[in-house]
């Protein structure tokens, strides 16, 4: 069961919520895996020594420029829609973080000066210094999280871990272009928002063939959601004590917060039997 959390704005507390949900699910003796697609890692999982082991390599086809055959006609520079090739007086530089492997440059080159080369642009690493299964993405240089990385990551998770294992994925906020794939590829998406208008847009355009949605809302805005008919919205509190324990690396003791995570877990269990029966156990 792959569960993603999508915070509709940065800093709403999605990682805090998901990391506490992780603690709760573990306390119910369920197999869980945590995957962080965000760079800052929840302090909850930090121990004094952070030791990692590489699990999976991201390899992308990036064009390699050949000095010997290039005629400096710059057709490749003109044809690249991503402006990923930069011409210099003595060489052409290909910025892999901008390249999406569309092959337009290779096709346009009459001198065979460009050729695809498989390059490692990042990897998935697993923390070895803890008992939990904690994974994180690492991208090299200026590589940026994209739909391609998201799809590779989700395939890796589904192929590596059992169907019944709870795979919790922390999606970074702000990558609006990833949302459609998150909805398509996850089993459940926890949408954590303070914006009823945005939720309405997501809810109305959501396909029943995609992930099941769980709505979590900030305590401050819960009445706006209840008023507009979303009575199943789960309110999540936010205060100094919760932020303090999270930043110092402990699961929160706040009773209302734990209650929110319990409610989310209950909704997950309601959805889960439908998933299980499809695998025919």
């Amino acid at each position: 069961m792959l569960i993603s959390i999508l915070g509709t704005r940065g800093g709403i507390g999605a990682t805090t919520l998901l990391s506490n949900l992780h603690s709760f699910i573990r306390s119910q003796n369920e197999d869980t895996v945590w995957f962080s697609l965000t760079d800052p890692f929840p302090p909850l999982f930090s121990v004094n020594s952070l030791e990692w082991e590489k699990q999976y390599s991201f390899k992308r086809n990036i064009p390699e420029w050949n000095y010997n055959t290039c005629n400096f006609c710059n057709s490749c520079v003109q044809v690249c829609v991503n402006e990923a090739i930069a011409p210099f007086p003595d060489k052409h530089v290909i910025y892999s973080e901008l390249c999406n492997s569309c092959k337009s440059c290779i096709s346009s080159c009459k001198y065979n000066a460009l050729e695809f080369q498989e390059k490692e642009t990042g990897y998935i690493k697993k923390m070895t210094s803890v008992q939990n299964t904690v994974l994180k993405i690492k991208l090299f240089g200026r590589e940026i999280l994209s739909q391609w990385y998201l799809r590779e990551t989700f395939s890796f998770l589904k192929n590596t871990y059992h169907n019944n294992t709870f795979k919790l994925v922390d999606i970074p906020s702000g990558y609006r272009e990833l949302w459609a794939d998150v909805f398509k590829l996850s089993d459940i998406v926890i949408v954590y928002t303070d914006d009823p208008f945005l939720w309405e847009l997501i809810f109305k355009s959501h396909s029943p063939r995609h992930a099941n949605l769980i709505l979590a809302v900030t305590e401050k805005t819960k009445n706006e959601f209840f008023k507009t008919g979303y009575s199943y919205a789960i309110p999540v509190p936010y205060n100094k004590e919760i932020t303090r324990t999270t930043i110092q690396g402990f699961p929160t003791q706040d009773f209302d917060f734990i209650d929110s995570t319990r409610k989310i877990y209950q909704q997950i269990k309601v959805i889960q039997p439908h998933e299980r029966s499809s695998t025919g156990i």
């Binding site: 915070g7 509709t8 704005r9 940065g10 800093g11 709403i12 507390g13 990682t15 965000t38 760079d39 800052p40 890692f41 302090p43 930090s46 829609v81 991503n82 973080e97 901008l98 999406n100 492997s101 569309c102 092959k103 337009s104 096709s107 200026r142 590589e143 940026i144 994209s146 739909q147 970074p172 906020s173 702000g174 990558y175 609006r176 272009e177 949302w179 459609a180 794939d181 398509k184 914006d195 945005l198 355009s205 205060n239 100094k240 932020t243 303090r244 930043i247 110092q248 690396g249």
Partner: protein, 264 residues
């Protein structure tokens, strides 16, 4: 017009709060640009201007001209276009706008259409402070372009109203998008929370800003919730001006006079 860039390693550190404080101080001297697309501005009311922006292309097939030859499907590197019983199907998520299908179509049945990527809003007025911000659609191809569009609009307005300062809020994280905004700024304001992971972020910034002559200021937001880390940050990054902001339930009512000379 001098540029001030606000960055952070993750969302929720308080960049927008700090920008709000600076907005109250510099309201009529500056123009404000929210390049983070974090949708926390109330753009339904008081919006001065609203315009669409377009990024990238998408194929549009004319069914009357289509020969159903399947060349577009064969040439697509991303399996985004498919010939089916019902005609040509496009998977907008997989399409990258490279244009191979458009070039290969023997019947010229495919046109490349610009994608409506989102809206750019200009809110407020020159007394209270003009803010340029935006919302992204579900499917835009990202990269540095949305951020550049907001910045360009802010510069246009800044020149028009003869403003001295441009305050930009970058999206969270340290990547090519943030770096693309770094070239132009003379002051970098880093807003962080005091957590254990912040040191590698700050070291990355030191490395990246070596080549630029930028004044760096650090704001430790919610500094009192982890005083051990806050103290360590202050000791290790002495070369920067550092302000500690304690936790506040509602920062609008707080006294922020120490920000008066922050960017001078």
């Amino acid at each position: 017009m001098k540029e001030v860039l606000l960055v952070s390693d993750k969302g929720g550190t308080g960049k927008s709060t700090v920008l709000g404080i600076l907005k109250n101080i510099y309201s009529n001297e500056a123009i404000f640009a929210d390049c983070s697309f974090s949708s926390h501005w109330h753009y339904d009311d008081k919006k001065a201007n609203e315009e669409y922006f377009y990024l990238g292309n998408e194929p549009k097939v004319d069914d009357n001209l289509c020969l159903f030859c399947g060349d577009c499907e064969r040439v697509c590197e991303f399996l985004a276009i498919e010939l089916s019983g019902e005609g040509i199907l496009l998977d907008r998520q997989k399409c990258t706008g490279c244009g191979h299908c458009y070039h290969i179509c023997p019947a010229n049945a495919i046109q490349l259409k610009k994608i409506n990527a989102g809206k750019i809003y200009t809110i407020g007025d020159t007394d209270v402070g003009l803010i340029v911000c935006g919302v992204l659609q579900h499917y835009p191809k990202n990269g540095t372009r949305p951020v550049t569009i907001i910045r360009n609009k802010a510069i246009e307005l800044g020149k028009l109203y003869a403003k001295n300062w441009l305050f930009l809020e970058a999206p969270s994280g340290w990547n090519i998008i943030t770096l693309s905004l770094l070239h132009y700024c003379s002051v970098l304001v880093i807003v962080i929370e005091p957590h254990a992971m912040v040191f590698s972020f700050l070291d990355k910034i030191i490395e990246s800003t070596k080549a630029f002559s930028i004044k760096v200021k650090l704001v430790i937001s919610k500094s009192d919730i982890n005083s051990i880390i806050s103290t360590r940050i202050i000791q290790e990054y002495k070369q920067w001006e550092i302000i500690c902001l304690p936790w506040s339930d509602s920062s609008e009512n707080d006294n922020h006079t120490y920000f008066d000379t922050f960017v001078v």
